[in-house]
């Protein structure tokens, strides 16, 4: 079970340009990461808040709608978040690498 989780994370990490992966739980606490501690804690806290806000924005505009994926395009990289009830998967990719 544990090995499967690691395998999946490795597969995602091996995609082109991926700089890091963080898995956070429903409270925004990081539980798996490929980055260093301080970067992970920073990303986890900030992105968790952003995803909750994005989700409430979508549902406010249409209660039947819901957030399925969030992508943040930045000058230097792109941050992708796949949200779920219990966990969020955050992937940071530099597509031009």
């Amino acid at each position: 079970m544990e090995a499967e989780v690691e395998e999946t994370l490795k597969r995602i990490q091996s995609q082109k340009g991926v700089q890091g992966i963080i898995v956070v739980n429903a409270e925004g606490i990081p539980i798996k990461t490929t980055l260093d501690n301080s970067t992970t804690v920073q990303y986890a806290a900030q992105i968790h808040q952003l995803v909750l806000k994005a989700r409430s924005t979508v549902r406010d505009m249409d209660p039947q709608n819901d957030l399925t994926f969030l992508r943040l395009r930045c000058k230097k990289n792109e941050i992708m978040v796949a949200p779920d009830k219990e966990y969020f998967l955050i992937v940071i990719q530099n597509p031009t690498d």
Binding site: Q15, N37, K75, M80, L89
Partner: protein, 478 residues
Amino acid sequence: KTCQTAEFKTAEVEVQARHSSDNAAQTEADQHRTQLFDLERESHMHYPGLGDFLHSVEDTVVKELKKNAKSHAFEGFEVNWEDQNETVSCLHALQYSEAQERELQVTSLSWNTTGSVVACAYGRLDDGDWSTEKSFVCTWNLDRRGLNPKRPDLVIDVPTSVMCLSFHPSKPSLIAGGLYSGEVLVWDTSRTQDPLCARTAMSDETHREPVYQVHWVPGARRGDGFSVLSAGADGRILVWQLDSEGQLTLSDGFALVTQQIPRNVQLSKARGDCLLGVTALSLCPWDWDVFLVGVEGGLVLKCSFSTRTPAAVSSPSSGLALRAPAQFTFSSHAGPIHAIHCSPFHRNLFLSAGMDGHAHLRSLLQATPLLSLRLSDSYLFSVRWSPTRPLVFAASTGQGSLVIFDLGRGSLRPAATIEQDTGGKPVYCLEFNPKQPHLLAAGSADGTVKIWQLSAELIEQGQREAAQLEQLATEAMQ
């Protein structure tokens, strides 16, 4: 014609809360969250449903990652959040009337660590004789309202010309200066009474010739404060510690003797035991043990603080034994070098600029330069990498202009040339503001310090600049 909708029903309703309660909430310090995250511990814990969750999102995420890597959707798409300055403009022209009257030149500049105060040193760089002319160090706080460019916030009187100046890297009010007489002084600009807070005593061990470079270096161990490093025309590089009694005590020292220069490059036939005066120095921000020195004659040397070789000079009986720091010699310029600067973005690259009007892009790993750029028909007195754009650097010329060069443009012509309007007099020093990268200060021989505001394209980092710099470094290596 009129129209009307079908009848629709309305109703009025009122709502009121029947019960109310007060409640308060408080957050705990964020440390709590950081402590909870312990990578070692977490990797052994089992999370219910994590496997299923990853399984369900993996395909979508991998698909998006692959699409993104191939996509051209955002190519060339740029967003401007800040005000875009299209042109370079001169924000301030700072002068001190007494220095102007005596036609003193600006020999050195430094920004303090917060980026709000600029200090300049007055003196003369073209004098051959021993000078006992008094001079000044002036500071201006650019963030202060009511800034008067003609009147400095603080004027410090100094007994002889000041050749170099450097603010402390973390204490915004401490500034060190090296004098023509060989003394090194440290001032504290927050002291109202007497800003002088430490000086070197005159002894056998101190510099006896002008000090051309002064820098703050971190102490040997963590937790030690910064020490002052001074290098002068006498070929000695000395490290001083500030003590509480206002003395700078010598804690370490090096001497550059001709015969001890590594012979990996053809050298001129100077007498073996003569000392080589230092004209330029740069600390390497990537490896605190390494520092680069430019000496009389145009050589650039790579030196190490931790060298153990004693220097071939007679040391005073009770004094500190000087060591020979040079480990590698780079091929020389065709003339003295006035400036060396290590790149803040690439651990092996540095620039050197000299009296031959050329700026050389060099790597720590090879003796010959990677690129030799002719920036001016006259001398180059100073060269500095941009703190925000890995491919950009600025140089100041003997004709009174500033040249800004962009290595990413692939052209041999500068990206911008700024005329300082000095009437043909040289611009001796140049410094980027560490906290506000759009500001560039330049001091010239006519006694003025001009603060330039750079245009946005010269400051904002492009998408792949650091990678381009890396590519340039590896391609140009032989």
